[in-house]
């Protein structure tokens, strides 16, 4: 027994030494990275690496018709990710404003750092921050949303939302945490922030909103099962969340057997019962969309983009901001490499900050290699096409399982 313990201990020590050494090397390399000269559009990934996590920066170039994506640099977080989790959870995020100075990414695999803060101007690691000792995110990741004064982090292991105050130099200060669990036992699987309203989906069919006007989230007491969940006999689960620029509509992408969107009128500051819109699937054939766990409004809010996580494609629908109605749309064919070598579609973001966004970037999660897919958006307001670019797919070489990406400069809401 003693020999066995000794061997295990030595192995553990050696492994941690190697890991630490490698992490330091990686950090040194990142610290030497020069900042881009101008302000190009950057695609930023939380690599969610289980050994040495990092943020990777890619420059988005080319034209709308022939977009390109080129790796620029990486920044080690000196912590570990978990290489997976919920599709709709934003693991990398920033203030939705062109003046954003910092990007925050989660490290769900370590206890000594939950959130890494990186300067958008230098790409240098600005700090590593933790919530309380009981905030645990290693089940399905840690989601992040950002306001001018606070960063909110949803932990999927402990079912808590932690509040961090934003300080100068991208620094964060942990304030406190609150419980956040779904009506059916789920944890936060998607979240979005608009002003003082934080909206979450629990991945178990239920949704809830929180008032953050006092800094820390306080439930609005509107936790409810979504209409899709109820009417589908418990097989549609709101997951990804987005909120319109005016704060009137909360839009949920459903984990489902089809492509479903649910919309809630939140103009009262509370969630109202959602209205279910089936974009594709049985009876409504737009395309072979399966699952719509991640969701993203176009900058002009005329379109909703959804990652068909289990179908390997991306779907789009048209959105009417006046009525909250979702209609029609289009679905891409399965993207190159679906099921060989990558397996799930993660988050979807637009390149441009105006119009329909021009180009879509898609996280392509693989157990043995992840990629970033690139699609061109074409829309005349009533019909659309999503076409995979010839530049797609770009390897996300440092990722252990890519689910979350962001774009800088960000969409303005």
């Amino acid at each position: 027994m003693k020999k066995w313990l000794l061997a295990l201990s030595v192995c553990s020590f050696l492994l941690s030494s190697v890991a630490s050494s490698a992490a330091n090397k990686s950090t040194s390399k990142s610290n030497k990275t020069k900042a881009p000269g101008t302000s190009p559009t950057l695609v930023i990934t939380d690599d969610d690496n289980t050994f040495h996590n990092s943020l990777s920066f890619y420059q988005a170039g080319g034209t709308v018709g022939t977009p390109t994506l080129t790796f620029v640099s990486d920044t080690a977080t000196i912590a570990q990710g978990i290489g997976g989790g919920f599709f709709g959870l934003p693991r990398v995020n920033m203030l939705p404003d062109a003046s954003a100075q910092c990007v925050y990414a989660s490290d769900a695999g370590t206890t000594d750092s939950d959130i890494a803060a990186v300067s958008l101007s230098t790409h240098l690691l600005a700090g590593r921050f933790t919530g309380s000792a009981t905030d645990i995110g290693d089940a399905n990741g840690i989601g992040i949303v950002v306001s001018p004064n606070y960063v909110y982090a949803a932990y999927t292991g402990s079912n808590t939302i932690a509040t961090f105050a934003v300080q100068s130099g991208c620094q964060l200060m942990f304030i406190d945490d609150v419980a956040a669990a779904g009506l059916n036992g789920g944890s936060v699987a998607g979240m979005a922030l608009h002003g003082n309203l934080l909206v979450v989906a629990y991945g178990d069919g239920s949704i809830e909103s929180f008032d953050v006007s006092n800094g820390s989230p306080s439930s609005n007491g509107d936790a409810q099962n979504s209409t899709g969940f109820t009417t589908s006999r418990n097989i549609f689960f709101p997951e990804g969340v987005d909120i319109t620029q005016d704060g009137r509509w909360a839009i949920f992408g459903d984990s489902s057997i089809a492509t479903n969107v649910e919309v809630s009128d939140i103009s009262s500051g509370h969630l109202t019962p959602t209205k279910l819109f089936t974009i594709s699937g049985h009876g409504v054939r737009v395309g072979p969309g399966v699952n719509s766990g991640s969701i993203r409004l176009s900058p002009d809010q005329t379109m909703i983009f959804m990652g068909n996580s289990d179908g390997g494609s991306v779907a789009a629908a048209f959105f009417d901001t006046r009525s909250g109605k979702v209609s029609g749309g289009c679905t891409s064919p399965p993207l190159a490499g679906f099921y060989n070598p990558w397996a799930f579609v993660g988050s979807v973001v637009t390149r441009d900050t105006t119009g329909t966004g021009g180009v879509l970037y898609v996280a392509e999660y693989g157990f043995a290699g992840s990629y970033i897919g690139i699609l061109n958006i074409a829309s005349d307001g009533s019909t659309c096409t999503l076409t995979e670019s010839s530049a797609s797919e770009v390897p996300a070489s440092l990722s252990d399982g890519l689910l979350s990406i962001a774009v800088y400069p960000p969409r303005s809401f």
Binding site: G84, F86, I235, I257, G293, G312, Y339
Partner: protein, 537 residues
């Protein structure tokens, strides 16, 4: 650093002590073999005068290594014997009195496992009648007589309404083995919806052999080998990394290292092996190597049914719940052999099925000078009357079904479905009406598609089926099986599929029973449906 080392050792010791203390308060399961022990056959229980009556106790206990055992215990000469082999003849009566002594905890403490999204189990009082389809509690169990073509009714082979609670009086099963039941290897295991994975992975399974003479195996030493799977205790973010295969309860050696299970054979002697894959999710790709030379298995039977002609192959693919019966060639004196599984590609979103060395073969005793080489001279057994002529029949109905999955993330939270076209997938509940209704006398062709990037294992209770086509390609010599691999979909092109000829001609199977994926957490998660077979008018 020395302080860190001491702290680490102390923490490990504390953990071990906690496990020991914890286990000390629990019921015990019989000790299982140690690494390096010889692989022994389970105890054989034979029927006498047309009847085999067995009292089994099912209980659970943590071992010192943190594995939760679920054990079928048989008392033999004052000793607890785990998972004996039940041996009956066609036409016999098999009586099993099962006492459920399962106690909390029902799974490894602290373990996180990839779970289906909605397996609802709540505590309530034990029901008075175990045939009423009561709610399945964490301690509930029952028995499925896997592969037997017997009635789906309570006290026989019913898993829908039979729910045996812990502490209930012994539940009596009485199975009349059909006189035309194909002689071969079957098995028993728990099938309480939602609990199957945990109990089977804990070891609750046993071989059931319907005896019958086969000239190909006469005079050969017979081994009964059961490959099981156990989930380890501890941090298990990646459940695939915490799975250990065992052979007759003895841990396989890779990737753990250590002493291998040992199989000692007489030099040069061929042996008859009956192998059961009792794992919950491991697809085996079996190989046998002598020295550096890959050997051929002479395959005699699959899923209890003898093949029309033996098949010679050096790699045997066995899905979870599958059985194969085969002859291994003689191992020359002084040589060693390796019995292993190569691992299996379960698809882009499938659970890892890693390679594993299952056992080492060595020789002992005097070399066998002569042994009848029956394989080229003896006429193989005929196809049993029970399924005779099935391949030549015109199906009365064709159906199309599909497996599909839906995820909220990469780490589970998965919905598992089996659906008939053109319906949309829906979550399975035990109180659902039958998805399919048919009559005795029907012969149906079912095409089972896989719409997911993960392999599945289709199984139907009560009957066997003929495998007519795989991915649309006709199978030249269809074999009877009760469990079959449905390959993962590649993401583009037609869905992967198997086409099966279902034989509902036997009036013995009137009633309602289930078909499902035999990856057990898929089954527990809802990849299951009911079929009702009505009597023909």
């Amino acid at each position: 650093m020395r302080a860190m080392f001491r702290a680490f050792v102390f923490a490990v010791l504390l953990t071990q002590l906690a496990v020991l203390a914890y286990a000390g308060d629990q019921p015990r399961c019989p000790d299982r073999p140690l690494p390096g022990d010889p692989v022994n056959n389970p105890l054989d229980l034979y029927s006498q005068n047309g009847t085999l009556s067995v009292d089994l106790l099912l209980q659970n206990a943590l071992d010192v290594n943190g594995f939760m055992h679920y054990c079928y215990i048989y008392m033999y000469q004052g000793q607890q014997i785990e998972a004996p082999t039940l041996r009956v003849n066609p036409g016999d009566t098999l009586n099993v009195n099962l006492t459920n002594n399962l106690q909390a905890p029902y799974d490894q403490p602290g373990a996180k496992k990839k779970q289906p999204m909605h397996v609802h189990m709540t505590m309530s009082n034990s029901p008075a009648d175990d045939c009423m389809g009561n709610e399945v509690l964490p301690s509930s169990t029952n028995i499925h007589f896997h592969g037997l073509n017997v009635p789906p009714v309570c006290h026989q082979d019913d898993v829908i309404n039979t729910v045996i609670e812990s502490g209930d009086p012994a539940f009596h099963y009485s199975i009349q083995i059909p006189a035309n039941e194909p002689p071969g290897l079957y098995w028993i295991h728990p099938h309480a919806h939602g609990n199957t994975t945990t109990q089977v992975n804990g070891g609750a399974s046993a071989a059931l052999i319907v005896e019958g003479s086969n000239p190909l195996t006469q005079g050969l030493n017979e081994r009964v080998l059961i490959i099981r799977e156990q989930d380890k205790m501890g941090p298990a973010r990646d459940p695939d990394a915490n799975v250990q295969l065992t052979i007759n309860f003895q841990p396989a050696i890779f990737p753990e290292g250590g002493l291998p299970p040992m199989i000692t054979v007489q030099p040069g002697a061929r042996e008859s092996w009956r192998l059961l894959n009792a794992t919950s999710k491991q697809f085996l790709a079996l190989q046998l190597t002598y020295g550096f030379t890959l050997q051929d298995f002479e395959v005699l039977a699959i899923d209890g049914v003898q093949l029309t002609q033996p098949i010679f192959t050096n790699t045997l693919y066995v899905p979870p719940a599958g059985r194969v019966e085969f002859i291994i060639p003689g191992l020359p004196a002084g040589q060693t052999g390796t019995f292993s599984t190569l691992g299996y590609n379960t698809g882009p979103v499938g659970d890892a099925n890693n390679p594993d060395e299952l056992a080492k073969l060595t020789t002992s005793g005097a070399p066998l000078k002569t042994q009848a080489e029956a394989k080229h001279t003896v006429t193989p057994p005929r196809q049993p009357l029970r399924f005779s002529g099935l391949a030549g029949l015109t199906p009365t109905t064709t159906r199309r079904l599909y497996f599909s999955e839906q995820n909220v993330g990469t780490n589970g939270g998965t919905q598992f479905y089996i659906t008939t076209y053109p319906a949309a997938p829906r979550l399975f509940h035990m109180d659902d009406p039958p998805m399919i209704v048919t009559n005795t006398g029907a012969v149906e062709d079912w095409t089972i598609e896989n719409h997911s990037g993960e392999v599945h294992a289709f199984h139907i209770h009560q009957i066997h089926f003929l495998v007519m086509a795989i991915n649309g390609v006709q199978v030249p010599n269809p074999d009877l099986q009760d469990t079959i691999i449905v390959p993962p979909w590649s993401g583009t092109g037609p869905y992967s599929s198997v086409t099966l000829r279902m034989d509902f001609r036997d009036p013995n199977i009137v009633g309602t029973f289930v078909f499902h994926c035999h990856i057990l957490d898929h089954e527990d998660g809802g990849m299951m449906a009911k079929i009702q077979v009505n009597p023909s008018n």
